[in-house]
Amino acid sequence: MRSSPFLYFFTLQFFREYKNHLATTVISIALIFLLSAVLFISSSIKYSIDISLGAQADFVVERVRGGKKVDLPIEWIDTLLETRGVQKVTTRVHGRYFFEDKREWALIVGIDFMDEQSNRALEKLVESVDLEKFLFSSNMLVGDGVQRYLKEHFYPKGYNFLTPDGKYKKVSIFGTIPNSLNLMSNNMIIMPQELAKEILGIKKSMVTDLTLNVPNDNLWDSISDKIASLYYDIRVLTKREMQKAYENMYNYKSGVFLMLFLITMATFVLILYQRYSMVFSSQRRNIGLLRAVGWSIRDILKLKLYESLMVVLVSYVIGVSLAYLYVFVFDSPVLIDMFLGGENLDHKIKLIPVVDFGVLSSIFLIYTVAFIASVLIPTWSIAVTDPKEAML
């Protein structure tokens, strides 16, 4: 730094006249902060979706009637297993339970105690779960949001679910899912499948839907067709489709935001253009002086572009850092609901920090290109100031 006269003079100029850049820096920080907060949230949720999709079965089979998802009979399993290439068909029982005021809901998920794999995962997930005890009486595991809701409504130990038959079913809270998993489990109640069926009003011979695996992925397309032709009211979803649907949903949500941002940016570009034209023209005399004492057009361009670059870099670093803190340390209040929807129970969601090159470079690129492009012409027009201006 001390060895380069140009950089010395640049810092001198920049900090003595920092007031010229203060307003633009502050606005820049705000804009970058907003954009990067939104992108951080969406990329972190996408990352979590990728994880949970990775653990999913290859196909989900549903029964659809009149556009509505309805329960399907357990016998379908046997028919499906007859198809060559299909492996490991499992049942799923799930549904929404609306609490007394009908406004808040929880998602009830019934788990199959015959399923070894899910039992092992459950043991790992919730410490001190004695599976035997859990599965063979009226017990449930509740998510953080559900637990807090129940506690507020004076059900600290258990809850009396109202079944569709009008009977009350008392289920006690066996444990809670760790709150670091709130992103997935905030509204969730896990209970044995039989119990879930009773509360959700599903007949004993029915399940909500089925999942199945096809180990050989070359067969995916043909098996998907084969299964779809088994019944008239069947719907087959592949993992790939789900992945794409989620990808598109988050692209869409952040894309809408990005579009709004771009419109804001367009306005900001105009403001920048005006502002820098003004600031620079107030410096006309000084620039003329610099030109008179031997600075070339190229030197002035360099000086002024460095100033803009400095503003961009500083606001980028500060804006992105603040956004990181806001999203991953302070759990992004307000903004996260844009992505999760407002229907959840009261939640405190911890996101897994994900900072990928794509997000960072996108923010930097769009901001820097727009910023520098808008100051380019004012910069040039001040740089070609005639040196004789200094004599006027």
Binding site: R103, A121, N187, F339, L340, G341
Partner: protein
């Protein structure tokens, strides 16, 4: 002026190092593993992501009109979008 420059650089690197520290100290393996296990248990993808039809109602959930308690809020549209 050089002093201000170093000060600025220091503040910025403080920001950055705080973030890098947080990012690298975060127990990613633990977090991803437990998410993986939960989705193995429930066999469903992420769930706290309601995009249901009641959404608009819940976002502005101050639902009782103090003057006309019986009046229906206009954002309760669930009877329209029956699922």
């Amino acid at each position: 002026m050089i002093r201000e420059f170093y000060l600025l650089v220091m503040v910025l690197s403080l920001f950055l190092s705080a973030i890098i520290a947080h990012y690298s100290l975060f127990d990613r393996l633990e977090a991803t593993n437990s998410q993986l296990e939960l989705s193995r248990v429930v066999k469903m993808p992420l769930l706290a992501l309601s995009v249901g039809y009641l959404e608009s109602q819940k976002l502005f959930d101050d639902d009782s009109n103090t003057i006309y308690p019986q009046m229906q809020e206009i954002d309760r549209m669930d009877f329209v979008y029956e699922k």
